[in-house]
Assembly symmetry: D2
Homo-oligomer: 304 residues x 4
């Protein structure tokens, strides 16, 4: 398949969509990103990489970090992880707090904020220096020792993260947060503030398209079964309110972030990352969503 040609065609087709979305501004630091950028990186399981556009520009991975902390916590806890967080889609955003109340503090899944806080809490319990450990892990997956937090984004998140504080204390009131809320949120705000390029993000997702084996070292980090579960969770829960829509339009397990990034993969075949800062009303990248839809349509390769 002529991937470079397909990717170029996609870039051309999504270009007219600039201006239809809005850069996230609830975190002031994110609002400063120039909107007219589009990067794309396809990373085949055989090692070939096809990158395009602003694929070398660092962006804030935000909620995409939840996939990585989840995979790390899964390695630590095994199946016990699912005693503290579910694997079911969450329905509407509106319900999140009510569901947490109704289900006695067990978040519906690990990719909504409440669930991701529980996952981060597990890392805080497990590691002396959880922030360093997260960086170490992401550097391993990307093969890049320069992966860093953006300190001013982390600070910006903290200053406007009242709802996350509310979730944290609510989980704590149910006994499903074992560490100090401030400490867990400090780690959480930092993991969201990690910066990557599309090239790095696509590389990091190779773990999931390789069924749990980190391809550079050949080291197995997750069992086949664990990887299948993580991919399944991404498929059903990775796009908030648009999980159903995305599953249809794109048909790949993946995860989006309000920084404008989307990471996705086809098990056994490839991983990819796309980035463009303008978001639709549901908080997903406008050009990113369209690019992925075009990619699976033009290549004819998706899970469905």
């Amino acid at each position: 398949m002529d991937y470079p040609q397909i990717i170029t065609q996609i870039a051309t087709q999504v270009n007219p969509l600039f201006g239809q979305g809005k850069v996230a501004d609830y975190i002031p630091e994110l609002g400063k990103v120039p909107p007219e950028q589009f990067g794309f990186c396809l990373h085949l399981n055989d090692g070939q990489v096809f990158a395009h556009g602003h694929s070398g520009v660092k962006f804030s991975i935000q909620s995409i970090s939840k996939v990585f902390t989840l995979s790390l916590a899964f390695q630590l806890m095994g199946e016990d992880l699912w005693k503290r967080v579910g694997v079911e889609p969450s329905g509407t955003a509106f319900n999140s707090l009510m569901q947490l109340e109704y289900e006695k503090g067990i978040p519906r899944n690990p990719l909504i904020n409440a669930g991701a806080l529980v996952v981060t809490d597990i890392l805080v319990s497990a590691f002396q220096d959880p922030k360093a450990e997260i960086l170490r892990y992401l550097r391993l997956l990307t093969g890049n020792d320069c992966i860093q937090f953006n300190a001013s984004v982390a600070q910006s998140e903290r200053n406007s993260g009242y709802r996350n504080y509310a979730l944290g204390y609510f989980l704590k009131s149910f006994g499903n947060l074992h560490n100090d809320v401030e400490q867990v949120l400090d780690v959480y705000f930092h993991q969201c503030a990690v910066e990557m390029t599309c090239v790095e993000l696509a590389a990091a997702m190779q773990l999931f398209s390789h069924h749990g084996v980190e391809p550079h070292s050949g080291q197995r980090l997750l069992t086949m079964s664990q990887t299948k579960r993580l991919n399944a969770v991404m498929q059903t829960c990775g796009f908030y309110d648009e999980a159903g829509e995305f599953t249809f339009a794109v048909g790949l397990p993946g995860k989006s972030g309000v920084g404008g990034g989307i990471a996705a993969l086809l098990p056994g075949q490839y991983s990819l990352a796309v980035w463009s800062p303008e978001l639709n009303k549901k908080g997903n990248s406008v050009l990113g969503m369209k690019a992925l839809e075009l990619f699976t349509t033009l290549t004819g390769r998706s899970v469905f």
Copy 2:
């Protein structure tokens, strides 16, 4: 792949699970089915069929019928269908009525009862004799002119279907049911009371594994894109509260029914049907769920 051997092995492995579940009894007629039955049928896209056990016994397809009426309504309405019903997972069962209230009468997806009633309403609007038309369609898909409703099951559903009446009138109060509630429910109770064998059900699902082409006639009923959407909806919404769990454990688009049947498919490769009447607490067949999990594990073929 040695399918007969794999299927035999599965049948042996699930056998000890008899007695762990309970036959549905909320509809008296269903409660009369002898519990210790297990049928399995695999239907490859190349036409090969491997059947096992009680795969020739008729059972009530119940909610699996929602997939067929949905595919018929989709042919009639095209994308306009999605103005009347969503494509997102529904969260907990508990929320169903509240979500309907909050979202002004638009059901979350077409595979929960409220959504299926809207789909049936579309058929009632479109056809002079919607019950006959549903039978005609199912006979086409199965290639079997003897497909019938079980009249006493339909009557039994009606007699205990107060909650479905409530849903129907609630949809009507929002203007999202165009026909008489009684008439829509009559069709709905009949579609749920259709009886099929595993062999017939697997055959009927070929439409979806063939990307929308009915394989006997070679006739295209659904576009590629429509079929992709239907498969995606089955993946994210086909198993009520267990959609996430099923997506992980099995990793195939599918749909279950309280009659104990489960239909599933791998796009481009095969469809299958499994049946065993004993249900777990979420209303899915105990042996059926396990059999599917074993099948994708032993064959190594799932969407993830």
Copy 3:
């Protein structure tokens, strides 16, 4: 106290409010009522009656009927009544169906629609001809043998009462409606379609200001304690979403209806009825609410 002067002053003060509200039109028959009408009737416990304006015009009492059917069911069932319906305010209208689901079919109180349907179901179980019995009871309370249902209003309610059908079937699914839903709704739509004048309505409310004694006959229909409970329920639950607001502004137990009527009372002292068809957004009479607020302010007599 110079009641005629006070009532005249109130009528003058509320007059400029005509045009601020809207006559109920969800039931077509109600929409035909000429809007610029205002009636007021004060009925003191010592037998004096002061009536003003359109106080002799018949109007549809609608939800005010719930108070009368409740008092009748309470006589029949005693404290057992509260096993089937609660006595707590219902929070927002929005929650009604969800609360019913969460609380397993026990309505929050007997003055919301769900609760009133349970009350009517009790009358249907108790009486051969419940509609005749309701008329008999209202004729006793008003001392007027001409009290009647308006048949075209009852028919109009039935034709647009989908939400009430939904509630009825939902209650039935929980086993908290013992009779046929159609039959209960037929009685319910008729009780809502009873017509009274302000003079008649004020007279009927004397039962509650006389601590349970019907004043014409001197017959005790309710115990002191039962009357206290009914008054308490009217105080906390009588005005839907505006119960708190009304308790503050007016400070009397009472009940409103979408026909534009409001009935209220001060225990041991007086009952009153006010009617004006234009409603505010919460479904309560604009001029009626203001008139009651002025009445308790000008007379200095309320429960607080």
Copy 4:
């Protein structure tokens, strides 16, 4: 009326109820209170006081403090107060967080925790030293300069108050908390930790039975209309889930606290306080509820 005799009779009648409830233990400090205590104090508007039993023992007023901070905030803000908090009953406890979400951060009423936090936030904005100001106000109302916070109870509340932190941050995320969450909660935990005797609490409630005039100084603190509103809010919202039940059984505006105290009043006639530490499942004092019910029954004086 022979009040001493009536009160003695009540004390005798409630005595057998010891052991039926449980002392609050979610705050460790409260769990240390000896359970078998019962105090009662009636304070007539003419100045007569009748006290009985442990009416001179200090106890933690807890949520009863909400009435006092509310009345203080009302003096400061006037009607603008109701832009930030509603006056409607809250329905079930279960709904609290969801309602806050649905109603965009405006608590249903000022006597649930969310609403009381908004009220405290107003005091934090208004006063240099809000804790000192609250003490000053309570000392004025009780005529006792020794009213104090119990520091170890306040600390105990803080240590287990995760849910209140969650509410605070949630309000903050909606912009309905203007000050630092930590600071508001510090004041809130202190106001809950105020200690009073029944005699002092009954005295403090005289403000509300005197229509807004502080009786010792003759100073008007609240207008008649403001007092009427506060009494109405206590009537409809003062007893959490038991507001309807309490309105019926007792028929007085009032407020309970998990320390086992209940304060109530009959406008224009008397205020009273009762205290007994054992609570029913809804968090109200077992002996206190029964004593109040007996008091209004035996004296025949309630609002209904």
